[in-house]
Subunit: 339 residues, 4 copies
């Protein structure tokens, strides 16, 4: 991978480094050729160090309180704070002159269903950081809203169908997703203990109650689709990975299940198509969306069955955040993401 002799280097910080997305961000930044980690904050673990594996080594990253972070001394901040708590800090970062990739739902399309009064300087219409769909929006952005993990797996799979009018108007797109437990965060909760999760499987947030539906509906509408979504997430006894199984009623027959994807993503380095079926093992620790599709037999309604697999912490969170930061900073979009 030849790189220019004068590759620029930027200083970045991570707000909320003790969660699983925050840890992954630290690892990606530490292994990134053009980024250096200036600070990592974790309110409850201030004063401790976080063990992070990157570039073949184990790093001990000191955790500081967010108030101690030198916001003015960095070029960009990754904010991996809880939903609702993020906007305030984004305001401070912007005031300090740095850019932001925000991993909360606060600034995403639909704002996670919650209307917050945003601090001064925080845009209500931050670009939605899904490069494969909206790369151009991010060129000069000061703030980018990083998509949700489920939303990433689903929208990358639905967008080519939406844009080409293939989704039957008024129909229900049925989405059954299953996520590894790291998607539920690193807060200690009884129901996330090993003994509660191993050998089990269950749905949660059912009946269209999940926060990610807002950004999915808003984005599909923007892409021209007039459909309903029925989204049912499940909790898997695995660490990381999301598989979405998506049934799409079609407005017209399709003879080649993958054709819409070949066309839409021919030049996308972080979308993989397979003539087989994507599995979590194909995507773990990688910044890709891996897509397979089949046309089911025996149905009166023309239908496409799409499978989409991602690593929820990489393409579903930290990896996509770094991809977005690369775009915002004018770096190679894949820098730090090939390992």
């Amino acid at each position: 991978m030849p790189q220019s002799a004068v590759a620029p280097t930027y200083r970045v910080g991570v707000l909320g480094a003790s969660g699983y997305s925050g840890r992954e961000l630290c690892a990606l930044v530490l292994g990134h050729p053009n980024l250096t980690l200036a600070f990592a904050t974790a309110n409850s673990q201030r004063g401790t160090t976080l063990r992070v594996r990157a570039g073949g080594r184990v790093h001990d990253v000191p955790m500081v309180a967010p108030e101690e972070a030198d916001l003015a001394g960095v070029d960009l901040v990754f904010a991996a704070l809880p939903h609702g708590a993020s906007a305030e800090w984004i305001g401070k970062v912007i005031a300090a002159g740095a850019r932001v990739v925000d991993l909360s739902s606060d600034l995403r399309p639909g704002h996670g269903g919650v209307t917050h009064a945003l601090p001064a300087g925080v845009p209500a219409d931050a670009p939605y950081g899904m490069p494969e769909l909206f790369r151009a929006d991010m060129a000069n952005a000061r703030v980018v809203a990083n998509p949700g993990c489920y939303a990433t797996s689903i929208l990358v799979a639905l967008a080519p169908l939406a844009k080409s009018g293939l989704i039957a108007p008024g129909a229900t797109v049925n989405i059954s997703s299953a996520s590894g437990v790291s998607g539920a965060g690193a807060s200690p909760k009884l129901e996330l203990l090993f003994a509660e999760i191993t050998e089990d499987f269950r749905a949660y947030g059912v009946g269209n109650a999940h926060r990610h539906l807002y950004e999915m509906r808003a984005t599909l509408a923007r892409l021209g689709a007039d459909c309903d979504l029925l989204f049912t997430p499940h909790l898997l006894p695995v660490d990381r990975g999301i598989l979405s199984t998506i049934s799409v009623p079609l407005s017209r027959p399709l003879s080649d299940a993958l054709a819409p994807y070949r066309e839409a993503y021919a030049n996308e380095p972080f979308v993989e198509l397979t003539t087989g079926l994507p599995a979590l093992a194909d995507v773990q620790h990688r910044n890709v969306v891996r897509i397979g599709a089949v046309i089911p037999t025996g149905l009166r309604q023309d239908t496409l069955l799409v499978f989409s697999a991602i690593d929820n912490l990489v393409k579903g969170a930290a990896g996509q955040a770094v991809q977005n930061a690369n775009i915002m900073l004018g770096l190679d979009e894949g820098a730090g993401l090939q390992a």
Copy 2:
């Protein structure tokens, strides 16, 4: 548990005891108050013993070749042989004068999509052994076709809707199921090794290619439903259990999601309803179908979202087989199934 002083005892045999369903059958028979295990066959493991846990003890069950089994000396045979290999042995058992519960797909409605020439004496229309739907058919049956594991989890969930005309005519019922690995059998295959399954999740048999669709379609038609099924099974990194997530377009609005189930299954000891969401941990090692349901918001099409959990080796195979045998032999339907 008071039992009559003159509780009858029947001698039974298991054909195909080395698979996971066969092992579970041996365990249930060994712990059954009215059954004794006369023989257990396993062609490739003849001469060895199978370790089976039942009634608080570990038993060593000798495996014999099927040719060595004394078919004439038993009252009933459980046939847990591979699909396609079962019919021949059923013929021999019937000729020997014993009854049969067959766990293969050979005699189920739709015959697993394969037309076999059946041996003399083997009925093409054996009752389908799902007691909650077709108990009366089994009273005097010499042969009962035990349902498939996925079919059990799905048909018990769909039957009350089908019978009351709630499924929208012509609509597609969307079924996403996930099964533990024991459902794939005990044949050594690379893709079932621990190192291949742990931390992974994937679909298989997609696009309406699974054998169980035949018995599901035939049964729904018999119950009066005119719908299409889109069935997508997935492979879970767990030992046992199936969760089916089923989206049903409705012909009319429903105000109480569980009402059809309360009515249909009020007196069924092996169907459990929950106002929450059923999980694999609720049903493992138990002979039940556990059902939850919600009415999703935000959809133009009236829809019911149903969740159905079973243990694939118990209510999905061996437990239901014992339940059927109890009915055929005039025993208490739950005998040997409460542990």
Copy 3:
């Protein structure tokens, strides 16, 4: 299992029902033919119900605050409270006239290494409730100290050697144990989350720092052994089960590795010997210690290698507690433990 027509029934309570041992106690009591569950306390979860599977059914057990428990209305209390917090409640139970099986380390030999001032009426020398070694001590006891899980797996394996002088005087007995995560309790801690445990394995409490060493050393001394223990516990990515691998320097050669066990445990229903190697899968959900042993080759020092497997929540906690309660109440020792 024929039982007398006038089988007595006793009322019991569980203090500390929300932990894994407490839940298992509730399940065993609910399935016990001679016990009824009068109350179950859980300070932090008072007012909620605990879902417990027992006797083929799912029970919803109401949780009350310990202050609300009717201590005077029960015959026996199982105390599954944190180490250090138990003695106070034992005093109250005794004052109310009930018996106690205490699952904490407070009253065990060596008292877990901590000297507490015991409340009035609480004996400092409560019998150590390991029936296979000290059954006679419990006949008229008002309080029994239930052994630790590791201690159970190790002492049942070492006792026959200790009593027959087979352990080389002054030698170090090397014990490497591995436990399922339920042994670490149900308190939400980051390090016990599924994502932290899956695919990992590590030691903890090393260098002879574990609380169970006190009861092990005291008990071995009582049995006549003069040896040192080097005990290293490890944390397994499984729910339940302990396997202890124990290397014992011998005072004299042994020709038959299992001989000491055959002699010592010929009439013990809850000790199983195997000429193979015991595994967690053999003992999960069962009230047994399963023991295997081999004489290693190539060593100058005569040595016996012993393997001991238990379910940490059953024979290692709740099951042994019920076994002890059965003895204290004059019931069949195995009542409620055969399922």
Copy 4:
């Protein structure tokens, strides 16, 4: 990572690419800056392709029969063939003029306990490829015997003690190791199926019966230690990783548990020391041995308790093989191993 403008490139082949070590070798070679993969053989899977993840991409590597491999067209061959089958192929490779890193036990010290007549040209005393101990032996070697996975984890932990005379003469070093299932190979066997391994833990090959004992004993003798080994491997429900827990009777007291390791491995890039306890999660997918040590209390015999963690497929097999190949070919020893 600056690299010389004229970094050499070598062509290599993999014999036995379908096993877990073989797959890992293909992945490491594909991601190696100085190696290209000329062929990969797999007798039973000839004509198929192997999916390998390397360098952020998924590669489809064609499998050929070993007879089709162009042995004369490569500089070095990695032989990952079954024990006993390797020597014949090594002879052919040497005759064709290429070098060999052999991952079988056939050429290791002690030869895995089996005396084979070696083909012409195959040295009976190939250097033992553990660079941290015997780097100098490999400089001009045509054949290197890659160590066993258990042997790597144990010998790197024992060597500093052996060389400094710290192991008490005549004493028994007690080793309890636990390995992920990938160490048992990719041959489909019933006992390696997911449903057999999950939630279980057991010992195997006990009583000093494991093949790796030969190379461990021979190497310790070479390093000057006069001790016995008692080695007990266990099978973990994880994919990859070995943790060895080693109790070493000392010839003299030690005040700093890690001192021998700090001295011996100060300049070794692939040995990590920790003042905590090493865990599998620290080493998976990395070419390191991670070591922790404590001095246990309460023992009459001075003792050191050492913990050693490796990834059995990396430092325990394919990674160490690449490290050895780098040495043999004059490359940077860590080339291709930092990812």
